[in-house]
């Protein structure tokens, strides 16, 4: 039997946390209202962190809290009290980028993981942090599989690696485009994604060199499904999914696909790359994904030259609130109607397709279309569903 790595998912709030755990994440990472990147995300209040830690314990899962902003002088006084609070509510580890937090976290007794913001990609740096008491390093997304393997072999430190999601086009931590263009601090949670903007390209003499499509710094997303078996064989401790600002549908879909792929490989010992899984992953994000630096094959095809078109995902139709007497109570997330071909999926559900033939509103009147955001309706479904199962467009 192979070592099974941890599957680590993002969660922007308690709902997403529960979904991530339920759909197969072994651990989640969240941000507090202070000291956390992704200031735009709906971060957790202190009380919500406690609730999240309680949920994690109840479900026998792990919870990590990011404390990964570039600290400024004014925050230092509040830091220690915050770390003490995280210890008190029993989070499993904190994820830091500023090494000066290490002595305080050690004193408080918190387990420390080093954020990818440090862009660590060699065994000497990992050795340094190991000596300081850091138990896990989140490697830079620029690391190749050979580099990861060598680091694990030479240091024996727990290694966490991103397997899926959006990428910084720069080394993480080495971009302040957002600071300069919008005054929003990239390394303090204000990233405005300037890398996805369009630019004209000019020569030394300021002649326009722009090609058919504008210049951009934007890279395609990351998907490591293709190399998942090799990553497991390399004894990576934790496989991380990016995206604390992602929807519950995205989290449920991505987590469940990686859950299945990991479990299938570990139980069978043979890996069959499933292109159907990859299609599902593509559909949920609407952005191309590649294996990035893992196989060292980065080139012009790794980049996006499509302008600023970002398609929002309309596949997610609703979430199941309850199921009684052959009717599923559903909260709408995108427009659907009678006659729609849909697919139901869930953590303990064998995915099945279905044609909607009866919809009732909350007063049990028959209706044909569900067009209002978060409208609650009943659909007649012959197979038993469970709370937090989901309904999507059949592909």
């Amino acid at each position: 039997m192979k070592n099974k790595p941890e599957l680590l998912a993002p969660a922007g709030d308690l709902e997403r946390l529960k979904i991530a755990y339920l759909y197969g994440a072994d651990a989640c990472y969240i941000g507090g209202s202070l000291f956390s990147l992704r200031a735009n995300a709906i971060n957790f209040s202190d009380e919500e962190i406690k609730q999240a830690a309680d949920i994690a314990k109840e479900m026998n899962k792990k919870l990590y809290v990011t404390v990964n902003i570039a600290l400024h002088n004014e925050e230092i006084d509040a830091l220690k009290e915050y770390l003490k609070y995280l210890k008190k509510v029993s989070v499993d580890a904190i994820i830091i980028s500023d090494p000066s937090i290490i002595p305080i976290a050690n004193e408080v007794g918190l387990e420390i993981h080093l954020s990818t913001q440090q862009s660590t990609v060699n065994y000497e740096s990992v050795s340094f942090f190991k000596k300081k008491g850091v138990t896990r390093i989140v490697l830079a997304r620029e690391a190749s599989l050979n580099e990861i393997t060598e680091i694990i072999d030479k240091t024996g430190v727990e290694i966490e690696v991103f397997v899926h999601g959006a990428m910084c086009s720069s080394y993480s931590g080495r971009c302040v485009l957002s600071n300069v263009f919008t005054k929003r601090d990239s390394n303090r949670g204000g990233c405005s994604q300037i890398c996805r903007w369009d630019f004209d390209l000019l020569s030394s003499f300021k002649n326009d060199l722009t090609g058919e499509k504008p210049f951009t710094l934007s890279t395609k997303d990351l998907s490591q499904l293709k190399y998942l078996n090799q990553m497991i064989d390399a004894n990576i401790t934790s496989l991380k999914i990016e995206g604390r600002m992602r929807s519950i549908y995205y989290i449920a879909t991505v987590v469940s696909i990686y859950r299945r792929a990991i479990d299938e490989y570990v139980s069978k010992g043979v890996y069959e790359y499933n292109s159907e899984y990859e299609k599902v992953l593509f559909n949920v994000a609407n952005r191309d994904s590649i294996t990035q630096f893992l196989d060292g094959n980065i080139n012009k095809d790794s980049q996006y030259y499509n302008g600023r078109v970002e398609l929002s995902n309309q596949d997610f139709l609703g979430i199941i609130l309850e199921y009684n007497d052959g009717y599923a109570k559903i909260e709408q997330r995108n427009h659907f109607k009678k006659g729609e071909h849909v697919t139901f999926f869930g953590p303990n559900l064998n995915e099945f397709d279905f044609v909607i033939d009866e919809i009732l509103d909350e007063e049990k009147n028959k209706i044909d279309v569900v067009r209002h955001p978060r409208q609650v309706v009943y659909i007649k479904v012959p197979i038993k569903l469970t709370k937090l199962d989901m309904m999507k467009i059949k592909k």
Binding site: A39, N40, I69, A70, L71, N73, I76, S97, D98, P99, S100, I102, P103, Q118, V121, N122, Y123, E124, S125, S127, F128, F129, E142, E147, I151, S169, Y171, G173, R174, V176, L177, N179, F181, K183, R184, D185, S186, N187, G189, G190, W197, F199, D200, L201, L202, S203, S204, F205, K206, L209, G211, E212, F215, L217, F293, I298, K300, S302, Q303, Y305
Partner: protein, 284 residues
Amino acid sequence: MNLIVMPGSKKEIKKCYELVDGYILSLENLSVNVNFSYKEKELFNEIEFLKSKNKKVYVSLNKNMHNDDIKFLTEVLFKLEESNIDGVFFYDVSLVNIKNRNNLKINLVWNQEHMTTNYMTSEFWYQNGVSSTMLSYEITKDEINQISKSSSSNIFVPIFGYQPIFTSKRMLLTYYKEEFDIIDDSKVNYIHKEGSDYPIIEENDTFTVFTAKMFNGLPFVNELVSDYFVFNSIFLNSDEVHEILIKIKKEGIKSASSMIDEKYNTDTGFLNKKTIYKVKKDEE
């Protein structure tokens, strides 16, 4: 004012060394965010020349080190220890581990660009064998002074020149030219947005974007507490650098600063401008 210069060309050093206190030199394959770097032998010759002129000499080994860089990096650090330089600017923590494990007598300058933003981190590195800190360009004058006063480290503050704002292992310029069959041999290109031109370069397998405006912090020099000020002359030719340095030497900072503001498109960076930490809901 102790003025340490990151030179924009080799020619500039020969022309201007008498006007400055020292230089930060770059080494091929281990330095990034520069428009030129020395081969190993050239570097040691330049160090020897500058030491003979009683100048301070620092070497910037500021790339994100990968496993394959470690052997060369270690060899270079041993040689630099012998060369009597004043310090090594670094980004990657591997340098601290190599120095401490081998008891190298070499001063390290923590230069993690955008992450050197508070006094506690400066102090952490000091306790771990790093004697100096180069502060971020993105912090305010008050923050700089608080760090300088609270830290045991020697402090370097960026004071002039185009600043790196994006560093990538991806050769984004080369990829784009390949994708759209663009023939161009510019040494510096620009990406243009909303009336501003941002210099971009590829050097030592690294792609860098710089600020569109030349950072001119010289008017604040007398208000800033710092051991050294770093003058980055990237994208300026040796005549331009000489003109500025002569002006500083002969007529003082105020006069030099006025000339710079008249001649170039400048700003004062974040010295008087705080970045937004928490984005309010209605600002998203």
